[in-house]
Amino acid sequence: MLTTTLILGLVLGGTYALLALGLTLQYGISRIMNLAYGEMTLAAAFVLVALFQGLGLPPLIGLLVIAPAGYAVGWMLYAVMMRPLVARAGTSGRLEVDSILATFGLLFLIQGLLLLVFGANFTSISYLTHGVNILGVPVALNRLIAFGICLVAGGALVIALTRTRWGLALRAVAQTPNSAPLVGIDVNRVARQGFALGTALAAVGGASIATYQTFSATDGVIFTMKALVIVIMGGVGNVAGALIAGLALGLIETFVATAIDPGLTLAATFTIFLAVLLWRPQGLFGRG
């Protein structure tokens, strides 16, 4: 019983962690709190299903198309929509409110487009659903693959951020956007890359969710909320914190669903979230 909860929770948490990574990058590096994040995730999920059902493209190949496409869309969005807001705000605190409201509009825009194109029905695909035995617990193969995707993408990101020159520039902008230009970093370009990278992660997360879970065009807010909960639990902009908090949330949700009441999983998420916000708004792993 405990092993089942543990394994299923970790598998679920892997996807959550990946989702949260993208959001934390977008806010940490580009200073944009993207409330349309869940809708971007959903859009990728729908595209994966369309590729699978329409063209017969296997999800793992589809992923190779979706991830760069997500990067390109994020790049464009930042250049067209966010950059003018950043330029207008200058050094004042205005960007925070402006970006929230603008991405709020984006949320409805994407949701409306998804409803128009894909309809309001629940969507799912049947892909590698047979069980695999892990420590005596049967886990569907598609969930394991999704977990593997999360490990690979998350691991690659952590290595890129900590070991490469490019990652160093990203981290420099995240920490002190005002001093980064002094060492020759183009803050605007790095911010755009951060936003694009975050969107790509949202797309990968959405695509891997689509392989094992049923979803509909109005579910985006739930993904955004979960990603936000994790980001705030882990500390805004904290990559390692987001990974740990994502896995923890998966465990907590699975535990509440199996041991207490499946109807209370969302309420549990929000309670934890509100508690963390009040008790440690800087995140469980933050300093201060």
Binding site: Y27, M33, M81, P84, L85, G93, E96, V97, D98, I100, L101, A102, F104, G105, L106, L107, F108, L109, I110, Q111, G112, L113, L115, L116, V221, M225, L228, V229, I232, D261, G263, L264, L266, A267, F270, T271, F273, L274, L277, L278, P281
Partner: protein, 303 residues
Amino acid sequence: MRRYLPIVGFLVFAAAPFAVSDYGLGLLIGAVTYVTLASAWALFSGHTRYISLATVAFYGTGAYVVAVLNETLPYGLVLIIAALIGALMALLVGLSTLRLAGVYFVIFTFGLAELVRQLITWYEVNVTGTLGRYIFLDVTAREIYWQMLALAAVTIGLTAFIHRHRLGLALRVIGDDEVVAAHAGIPLARTKLLAFVASATILTLAGAIASPRWVYVEPAIVFNSTVSFLTVIMALLGGANRLWGPALGAVPLFFAFEYLSVNLPNTYPIVLGLLFIAVVFVLPDGVLAGIEKLRARWKRGAA
């Protein structure tokens, strides 16, 4: 003359039910409800620039209090209890969120609305065993309209009073710069809390007054987060820091969305989204400020 304009307008609106059909009256109630919501929202958020998405948490609570108590207590008493519960809730929320700013406050208020909805749903399903409740009250549509109109008038009157009062000045300074406000000796916590509780009490009352129109009530209906979003966009479109801004944004947008949801239900979210983006980019301070800017430019051009 200008001073009497609001009173004349109020009288015209109060007499309106005698001139319109039942359908028209329904539309009027909706419009006045959103004028109340947007104005009450702006009472706190307009000057402080704390974007609250908890509107529906209070609005829905008001409706739910009526749904639970309408068969056991007289209507007037139910309204008073609803207002008190709203105020108490706002006090608790306000006390715990005072240290949150910017994006944390936005997310907290959004989470709050969802949490209230989830908890009531769970409670109704598992403890009382019914998800829906009925409101059978002997309140006519006209009475609801007049009550809501009175609440709207009180809200705008209160806003006007606060604007001229020390509290309004304090809220403006807090919105501009909290550090400066603190150094100027403004009690940050008390000022924000006062405005937040006043705003939330009105929002709760609005929900309680509007509730008999629903007849059937369940969490997914009364805690529909679209209400929070619409309130924000209406107030911002008109100009959240102006006395008449929220009302000016609420009326046209309410009718626009009413038209859209009837005629183009599929493109409704798209239009809402584009509108949000347009307001942020084109009219960041609202229509009223935009008009003033245009006028100033026109005058300069003429001179």
